[in-house]
Symmetry: D2
């Protein structure tokens, strides 16, 4: 049976599933579950088109991997069919460990990084598919000698970033985030088993970095998005607290497991399959239906927060380059506590602060390497005559109910 399915993708036109094993993986419930996890969590509250899923992103990254491999092979980089297949599998599954609302609830539902979970999923699938994922796992873990294969999956210019910047720009409508992914991919090369970019690609890289920076501040760290995601975290914290105090909360069975237990990855020890079994049942639908149930819960904090999210009555979010003064925050806390008539202990669910940061380009680790026509290789920070800054930009936010101040 020929499994070379073609999928319509508004971003790239048509995506071809390149290998039978990849097709079988796509069909597996673990991957199908990614259809129910939005790529960018609650970003659609600001950009209503941003409803695309981790599933779609996985297919997109797979597509770009195919292009990158084709380009490298045309430049006489040796990549065997086994390696190409393994890289395709690894990129398809690189985010499979994401749970509901992706980054928003990461570490909250269960205290573990999604990449760790991705690896567990892969190992689990490797058992199911009788070790066909061996090489993919090696590459994913960066244990394979052709480092560039890992760099295509995880690095400053990996197919993950390429696709998510493209895709998130496309679905948000923030066209300014569009990157010249096709040109960058055409400029990729390999030098000493490491991924490099040909000299002619320097301007495209600069543009890519600036587009990424813009996407961070205009989309991913948009203050309204930040605010509502923090509200969602507070809902979960409140729910856990109530459960511990013995309250009854209606959530789906799969979510109960995570609500009633404080889990870290260590709790599973050797019992990888139990964790995966529970985790693979979770998706955005569990969270949203819980929120809908919570809107009618008797705890005023839980229902207020849940209603606010469901009906999009969002909190006010202030964003600044410096931390908020204790006095300023204290004043707001005070007002909120008066208005809502709640004790100081509960105020943290309604007034919360934090910070987010982003670096346009990180010169500290694994710089993008530029390959010159004369064979020389130099880091991007020395190649661009524009001057790339590594400065960390940090912004502080403060959220609280509207109409209080």
């Amino acid at each position: 049976m020929n499994k070379k399915k073609i999928v319509n993708d508004p971003v790239y036109g048509f995506i071809t599933i390149p290998y039978n094993i990849v097709f079988d993986l796509v069909e597996h419930p673990f991957v199908q579950r990614l259809r129910r996890i939005k790529q960018v969590s609650l970003t659609h509250y600001v950009y209503p088109g941003a409803l695309h899923t981790r599933f779609h992103h996985a297919l997109g990254a797979l597509h770009l991997m195919g292009q990158a491999i084709e380009v490298l092979r045309s430049k006489e980089v040796e990549i065997s069919d086994e390696e190409a297949k393994a890289a395709s599998i690894a990129i398809l599954l690189h985010d499979i460990g994401h749970g509901p609302f992706s980054h928003t609830l990461e570490h909250t539902l269960i205290n573990v990084h999604h990449e760790e979970l991705s690896l567990l999923f892969m190992e689990c699938l490797n058992d199911i598919f009788e070790n066909q994922l061996d090489l993919a796992i090696q590459i994913f873990k960066n244990k394979y000698h052709k480092k560039f294969l890992h760099q295509l999956i995880s690095g400053q210019l990996d197919m993950d970033r390429m696709d998510y910047l493209n895709r998130d720009s496309f679905f948000t409508g923030v066209h300014e985030g569009v990157i010249g992914y096709d040109r960058i991919i055409k400029m990729l090369a390999v030098h000493n088993d490491e991924l490099v970019v040909e000299e002619k690609g320097i301007y495209s890289i600069e543009k890519f970095l600036i587009a990424r920076r813009l996407m961070y501040w205009q989309v991913y760290l948009h203050k309204t998005v930040l605010g509502v995601e923090q509200m969602l975290i507070r809902v979960w914290q409140r729910a856990k607290k109530l459960v511990k105090e013995g309250a009854h909360l209606e959530v789906s069975k799969s979510l109960q497991f995570f609500l009633f237990n404080d889990l870290t990855i260590k709790d599973f020890g050797n019992n990888r399959d139990e964790l995966i079994n529970h985790f693979s049942k979770l998706d955005d639908y569990d969270i949203v239906s819980s929120l809908k149930n919570f809107t009618e819960h008797e705890d005023p904090i839980l229902s207020f927060l849940s209603k606010s999210i469901i009906n999009r009555k969002l909190f006010k979010v202030e964003l600044k380059n410096e931390p908020f003064s204790e006095e300023y925050i204290g004043n707001i806390r005070h007002k909120v506590s008066e208005r809502f008539n709640i004790s100081e202990a509960l105020i943290l669910y309604l007034v919360f602060q934090g910070s987010e940061s982003n670096r346009t380009y990180n010169t500290a680790r694994d710089e993008i390497k530029i390959l010159y026509k004369n064979g020389e290789v130099k880091p991007m920070s020395e190649s661009s005559d524009y001057g790339l800054r590594s400065t960390l930009v940090k912004k502080y936010y403060l959220c609280y109910p509207k109409g209080v101040v």
Copy 2:
């Protein structure tokens, strides 16, 4: 407070909310609920990008309404601000009566057409917003003397169609469905209070009709989409049956009301608000979380169907221009009943047939009218020298589990 908010839309760039009352309506939970109802139900099972919502469509149609009004005014059609506002409200709310999975479960959850519900919603909002929707409702019901305002909301060339064809093409990636909406809108005019199209727009209209036809067969009535939507209907039928037989089923509170009662609109009589209250709590999330719960239900039919949908193990769908013979269907029923070891009474949940039809252009009612330079007006069917056919194209489908035949 200036409520002229701008929304990023990947389809049109930027959408401006034109009036304060429209902004207030957009903010109302009834409209926000449309954020949780996908425009094209399960179409994303074939076109993974098609996750856009009724909310986004409502904003898009609102945007096009603004353009149409501007064009007509520039041609000296008189449209007062009150009328423009009313038309904007009416188009914003035209689909507010849609429930979970839009057309798929229409008449199934409750036996009523979504437009009837839209009207109830509008009346309800009219009470809340102190009669500010009076004129919008009149226009929506086609009771206003300037017929063209109603035709912009509901007619062969309404802003609803314009937007959904655009939007569905965009998010499915079926670029062939793209229509020249901007040109068609620029060609709109009014003659005797009716919407007409200037002569120069004839080719654009032909193209629009063919694009629409293509979208029907390639997207809306795509056999895989048809199949999975029918499966979903069977899940609901089975669930109702089980409930009547006394089984316990876990569904959200809002859905229980519809699961435990066989409702028609008559049941509500004068009690419009009760119906709206219950109905406005429903969205796609209720259905999907129920499906997820059902996957572990003890009834083998219910759990089999639910798992099939959730994990996308879809049924085989045959599509033909003629009805399937009784013999052919009988044979398949027999095989399925053997394979699944189920009684004849249950077979209707696993083997089901039906038909879908579409007319490229309906000459029977309300034809598109073409306005000639000499002032003459002729129906499109007489204007196009290509020859538009009104023939009804009907296709028959038959669905059953894969691997049986």
Copy 3:
């Protein structure tokens, strides 16, 4: 030396020159000359973006040929490297016989069809490139047993049409002419050495035919374009007449050869190279600079027409479905003759009529063939349930100076 050059194309992104011989042909002055011949003549007088050249179109068609070959090979159609290379050469050169202003002055500068000239050019290049074009010429002449290779170059679904519809839509901005070329190409297959389209492509073909029809009436046969092209022909006719009467006209040396001789292809007999030598020097620049010179010529007809074109003071163009009555035309002739104070003999340069026609789909020859899943092949006219009409649509035009009637 690696000649795999990449060219930026706004229509397709990047075009790769696939073979060294193709690169060498692209570099040849005969092909470079196509950079100076606009694809759609004076269409830019209506659509100011339509300045793209035959050169760009040749590259675009080459690109699509590469895609088509890749698709067919993936369906196990055998195409050797030699055949692929020959098909690439043939499509690159298919329009090389076009002269200045493409179709507008075809048969006017010299009475010969451009395809005949294309063949002469190819034979000439075959001598230069030492018979490397043998197979390409065979395919171009449809003498090769794999008919589908010729059909990819010249047929109802050839890469020529695919590219020009795409490209002309793109540069005119008539987005409605956009076709689903990528989908159509993905649906191509071969049956009995003939090109066929898989069943799933039927709607795309319908859309393609309607888009083509729209492009004909909205762009190629747009009445203003028709008019100015006819004016250009009249300039040339007048110039020839004047030359015969002994007048002095300033034109470039290469153009003189064609101005002073009434040439048919027979005049060259065996002297192919002389014809090609002269013809290959011609391009749009010769015509436009002649026009500019003519604006100051003492013959009032010649200078009036030339000034009208250069300064875009276009004639009035009437377009109808029926021929203009003799009376109507007579009346206009009379008025023009009075206004311009010219004799009846000259009136034909200022008042002229003609007709243009287009068939949406020609069922009379070489129909598009549809390949069904069961292996059956049926012509498109029997496959589409929409009903494709073969009717010839004919329109009559009448042109004369503005402000006369």
Copy 4:
């Protein structure tokens, strides 16, 4: 007569000509002449789609001006109809002083800056249109008190730049040059009669600056483009030299005037109309047909250079960050002189060097101003936390015939 014509533009969709006087100006031969002057000279030798004209750019900038005025008015900036009309006229005509091959031959055909000529053209048109351009000229000369109107025509964020970056990206296919013009325009505001950008637009401005930088190095100063443009200048220099030495050269009458005279603007003194009369006859066609004639001229330098350009046999171009050493250049000169057997005096036509430079953002004059929510205004260089560099990037080029070294 209603002159509100709509023009199809592939970049923006539809452009409406907003005023009768603007329509009349568009129709004037001076503006129509811009149809025959390519926006980016010989850039199409690298990017074959880049054939768009100054005419198209003028319409595009006019379109954006309309958008900017609408945005500013919606923010309660007072702009009267007279002012809007004047700004529209000024932007339409801002580049009307460009001659053949735009910047390439600027100062070469006649030693004057194109903006000075634009002003002369406007004054000339002002006479023709009976002082209807008075205010437009005032604004163009920055003599009007509402400075922002001038800044929309000429400044760091003027509609000229917005359009040319958009348009050049579009037609070259260098999508990375795409800027968020619509978002930037939506963020424009006025403070103390000066153009400012709202705080939310900072990232879009950064992106705009980087996109512009990329366009400079990847398109405008692309080394192949640089090279061929320098070759063209050498052709003209050689032609002038030969003419002075008494040689006969065939060029169009309009070009003769410039070939036989060494003109500066002072030569015209009060005789503005004579200059405009001669200059307005020039366009790209004069240069290309001359080149074609020159290919057969007996002077080997002139014919070699002309043939090289016409047949696109381009010179080798080296590009470096530091000047070329005298030794290196001397060596190449020597080789070229040997190979071509020409005297040292002639070598400057075949071996030539120079430099080009670009600044991503100029902090030295008229910085972009950012308007904060609290009413404060700060220059962009202090607003961006990315850090905008004002460093001048300079590159040195050296051109000589291929195959010599």
